[in-house]
């Protein structure tokens, strides 16, 4: 089958000779992919920042597909169902899943306890191949995969597998109260959705900080946000303090993670030497720009989870400064309602559509922000087979 094949940092292949996945467990299903996306956090893998990203892996944790085969233990899904597959692989019965922390399942990732099981996210995420392929093995098929509601646009459906709930949870984790001022660092897809959803919690003001003018313009239109370029500031923290009557924002959201920019020191120590969990500039700005007693919500992904400050663990385990992987299954009913009611049309963020065969170009364009790209969609050749 055709699938993405990682060959090393900045080097991937659209490989036609990948073996088709097989049922390995009674609760597995095999899904023929109809749509998949490239996520900003795939770029962290593409850039070689996430440990145990092995050559030969297939990335992709945002996808929809048709169920082609089910294991003997699968009861809810049936062959032919068109499903959206949340990026979290979750057993549904461990203490974490019972607490609706589906991103922290205890029975899906052997390789790390600080990280949940995710599709196509290195062996740090459990060693599962992902959905940038024609077929995928979907474990625990009865738990998270959800039949796409009738009448839902397929492009909105695929966005529900990660980016929409992730943006929502970024805002939710901030505990935004009516009238609050929210600052979102990063106008990538998740940052844009976090900004847009901040209004759903009653924000009084939403500010987005980024360095690319086209993304800032997108934030103004899509997220109704004030949007500022930190390249035009002497110091973003001072700017935000001044802009908030010298108190700081009520809530700051780090929607950037380890691939941040804006500080040479962080770049060298974080991305060059890997002495910290990537470049933590956005996180530092968030911590420094929030008011005393305010909340910092981390939704950006960080690299090697050892550090002077263990950011990766904070983010992945959700233990302190409100950070976690999105719990997609928990949020799906609410997200479906928001979309079906027309309150939000997330597919507006999909700016580029590529055949799966052109995946190396899609990654390069997304990585280097060419052609005003916001979110790339991949369509496999057998999407409609």
């Amino acid at each position: 089958m055709l699938a993405m094949n990682f060959r090393g940092p900045y080097q991937i292949r659209a490989d036609r000779n990948r073996p088709e996945p097989e049922i390995k467990h009674p609760m597995d299903a095999i899904v023929r992919v109809t749509r998949s996306l490239i996520c900003g956090s795939d770029l962290h893998l593409y850039h070689g920042l996430v440990p145990d990203t092995r050559v030969g892996m297939t990335f992709g944790h945002e996808f929809t597909g048709i169920v082609e085969e089910v294991g003997s233990g699968v009861k809810k899904l049936k062959v032919g169902d068109h499903v959206l597959v949340p990026f979290n692989i979750a057993c549904g019965s461990c203490p974490h899943c019972k607490q609706e922390l589906y991103g922290n399942c205890h029975e899906a990732n052997a390789e790390a306890t600080a990280v949940g099981g995710f599709f196509g996210y290195a062996h740090t995420g459990g060693g599962y191949d992902g959905g940038q392929a024609e077929y995928v093995r979907v474990p625990y098929a009865d738990v998270s995969p959800t039949v796409i509601p009738e009448g839902m646009d397929p492009e909105n459906a695929v966005l529900l597998t990660d980016v929409v709930p992730t943006g929502y949870q970024a805002a939710e984790q901030g505990g935004i109260q009516k009238g609050d001022t929210v600052v979102v660092f990063g106008a990538g897809p998740v940052g844009l959705l976090a900004a847009r959803f901040s209004w759903f919690f009653g924000a009084g003001r939403v500010i987005v900080i980024d360095e690319l003018e086209y993304r800032l313009e997108f934030a103004r239109k899509f997220a109704f946000a004030e949007a500022y370029n930190f390249r035009e500031m002497d110091d973003p923290v001072v700017f935000l303090k001044k802009a908030t009557d010298y108190f700081g924002a009520d809530v700051c959201i780090d929607a950037v993670g380890c691939d941040a920019t804006g500080s040479a020191f962080q770049n060298i120590t974080g991305k060059g030497l890997l002495l910290q969990a990537g470049n933590a500039t956005a996180f530092h700005w968030a911590v420094n720009s929030v008011k005393k007693g305010g909340i910092v919500s981390i939704i950006g992904v960080y690299g090697p989870p050892w550090n002077l400050v263990p950011l990766g663990s904070i983010m992945n385990k959700g233990i302190t400064i409100r950070g976690n992987q999105a719990s997609v299954k928990r949020l799906l009913p609410k997200m479906i309602d928001h979309i079906m009611s027309g309150r939000i049309n997330p597919k507006e963020i999909i700016t580029h559509r590529f055949p799966l065969e052109e995946i190396p170009d899609a990654y390069r364009m997304f990585s280097k922000k060419m052609d005003n790209i916001i979110k790339p969609l991949l369509i496999p050749p057998r999407a409609n087979a």
């Binding site: 052997a110 599962y128 001022t181 759903f200 009653g202 035009e232 700017f239 090697p304 190396p360 170009d361």
Partner: protein, 186 residues
Amino acid sequence: MKDALENRIEEFQDRVIAKRNMARAKDIPGWGMDADPENDPAYPMKHTNGADHQRFDYEKPPQQPLDMEVFHSIERPGVTRVFGTSTPPAGLSGAIRRYAYKYSEATATHWMTLILADRVDVIQGKLNDLKHGVLPNPWVERGWNAEWKYNRSAFIGKAATTALLITAGIMLLSKKNSSKQHSREW
């Protein structure tokens, strides 16, 4: 010095803007509909059920057959009931990873050794390709088609600079070699 934004933000007074926004909030689809004063500090919160001492007695799914080498964090007793089968450890990079998994996730040794294994894996991948008669195609695999289409001038500039640096490096090395040879002849 540019006229930095922070020197031009008299108009950005926080409460004034927030009040103004709230007055026109009805124009923003969905505004305030998920607001909840109880949701502070918000998710994740623990849902207690009165029997939390029983929470570890959950029914575990069956074990996926262990038909390949799967590493597991030493912070857990064994592999999870379900695991990924993407790329089992192999060769030198596999041996390095095997060493890394002797250390907990709290250690730099674990993570930095895995990063080292990743870099070794890249070289191993290239050798494997050659062994199977696959020639890596950097033009396609690095997405240079896209660079050529959307970023041509910068791409050509970068390629020219790289070529220049490589040529200069080769010339420097060959000069050193010839001067060494020369000194030996003396």
